[in-house]
Amino acid sequence: MAKRKLKYRIKRRLKKKREPKLIEIYERRFIEALREIRIPLLMLHTALTVGTLGYMILSGGDFINSFYMTVITIGTIGYGEVVAGSETLYGRIFTSFLSLMGIGIFTTSVTVIVRIFFKEDIIKLYKAIKMLREIENLEGHYIICGYDKTSAWLAQSLKKRKIPFVVVEARQSALKYIQEHRIKYFILEEPHRRSTLLSAGIKKARGMVVNLGDDATNIAVIVTARLMRPSKEDFYIFSFASTDGTAEKMEELGANKALVPNKLLATRLAAYILHTSSAFISDLFDRIAFGEESDIDILEIKVTPGSPLVGKRLRDIDLRKTLKVTVIAIRKEDGTLNVTVTGETPIEEGDTLIVFGEPKNLTRAQRILLENPDKVVV
C-alpha cells in the first residue's frame, strides 16, 4: 500500500515537472487575456439585472418592456418612459439612479470589452495558436533556426521546391521581415529551448538549419536538437560556423555538416577565377548543384541491400532507354567515386547511383528504382 502511494506521488511529481508545450503556454496566455473581460461583463450584467428587476417591480412584472427600458436608459438612447410605472415619482427616482450608475458602467464596459478584443495581443496569440496547430500536422519538414538574409534566401529556395519548413526566431524585430517574405510557419521563441523545438515539430522533421549568427548559440541549439533526435541518418542538422575549428566541433557535437560561409563563398569565387575560360561549364554545374537550373538536375539513388539491381551491369538496366536518365557516376560504400562508368560497370550492394536528367524523369526514376526496381531489369 505504502509502495503504491509512493509510486503515485512520484508519478504526480514527474507529471508536474513536465515542460509544458508551447501551444499550452500560448493557450493559457490566451485564456488569461480573455479573463480580463469578466469584470466589465459582470458590471454590465449587474446594471442590466438591477434595472430590469426594478422596472419589473414598478410595472408589476412586465419583463420585456422593463428590459427594453433599462437598455435605452443605460445605453443613453432615452426614447422616453416606455414601461408602466416609470412615469410615477418612484419610477423617476429609480430611473435617475439607474442612469447615474448605468451610463458610466455601460460606456466603460463596452470600451473595455472592445479594447480587449481588438488588443493586438489577443489576435497575435490566436494566430500563433492556429499556426502551432498546423505545424503539429507537418511531417518531413525542415526547421530553420534564425532568420537573416541567408535564411531568407534559403526559405525562398525551399518554397520554390515545395519543401515545408518552420522558421524559429527569437528576435521580435525579425517578425516584420518574416511577414514581408510571407513565411507560412514561424515561431517567435528561443530556439535552444526543448519546448520550442518540440513545437516546431522536431520529432517528425527531416532536418534543421541552424543559423543564429553566434557559434555558442548555434552549438546550444545543435546539442539540444541532437539529444532529441539522436540519429544523424534520420535527422540532418546543418549549421553555420565562424571558423573551421568551430565547424569541426559542431560536427562532433551532432551537426551533419557545419559550413563556414566566408570560406564557402571564397571557394566558389576561386572556382570562377580558375575556370574563367570555361565559365559556362563551372556555372552550369553550380546551378545544377544549387537547384538554379530548372531543366536539368542531379540525384543520388542508393541501391538498397537485396535489390534486384545488385549484380547487374549498367547495360542490363539501360536507364537511358527505360527511364530517360543517365548514370554519370557511382559512389561506392567506402566513399570513393567512380566517374568512368560504362555499360559494363557492375552495380554492387551499398552503391549510390548518381543520375543526371530532367527533373520529372529523375523523380520517376527514383520512385521506380526504390519501389519497383524489377521494372528496369532486363
Binding site: 479573463r35 461583463l41 428587476l53 412584472g61 419583463f63
Partner: protein
C-alpha cells in the same frame, strides 16, 4: 478564505435553487433572477483554464441557452413551454453543482498534499 470561489458557488447554487422554485411555482421574478444568476455564473467561469472549469462553463452555457428562450417564451404567454425549458436548464444546473463539488474536493486534496 477564497472570495472568488464563494461568489462563483453562490451564483451556481442560486441559479439551481431559483430554477427549482420557478419550476415548482412559475413566477416572473424568479425566472429573471434565475437567468441573471446563471449568466453571472457563466461570466465568472470565463477565462478559467482548468479542465473541470471548462466543463462547468459548458454546462452553464447550456443552462443559459435554455433559460433565455424560456424567459421570452414565458413573457409571451406560454408558461408550460417555459417550465419545460427551465427543467432542461435544471439538468445542466445539477451537473454544474456536481462538477463544482468535485473541483472543491480535488482542490482540498491538493491543498492537503502541499
Amino acid at each position: 478564505m477564497r472570495y472568488k470561489k464563494i461568489i462563483t458557488d453562490f451564483f451556481i447554487l442560486m441559479s439551481l435553487t431559483t430554477n427549482i422554485s420557478f419550476i415548482v411555482s412559475p413566477n416572473p421574478y424568479e425566472l429573471v433572477i434565475t437567468v441573471a444568476a446563471n449568466l453571472a455564473a457563466t461570466i465568472l467561469k470565463i477565462g478559467e483554464g482548468r479542465v473541470l472549469s471548462t466543463e462547468m462553463l459548458a454546462s452553464s452555457l447550456v443552462a443559459d441557452l435554455h433559460l433565455i428562450p424560456a424567459l421570452f417564451i414565458f413573457f409571451l404567454g406560454d408558461t408550460v413551454e417555459a417550465v419545460g425549458l427551465a427543467q432542461g436548464a435544471l439538468a445542466a444546473n445539477i451537473i454544474s453543482v456536481i462538477i463544482s463539488i468535485i473541483e472543491t474536493v480535488l482542490s482540498a486534496f491538493t491543498e492537503e498534499e502541499e
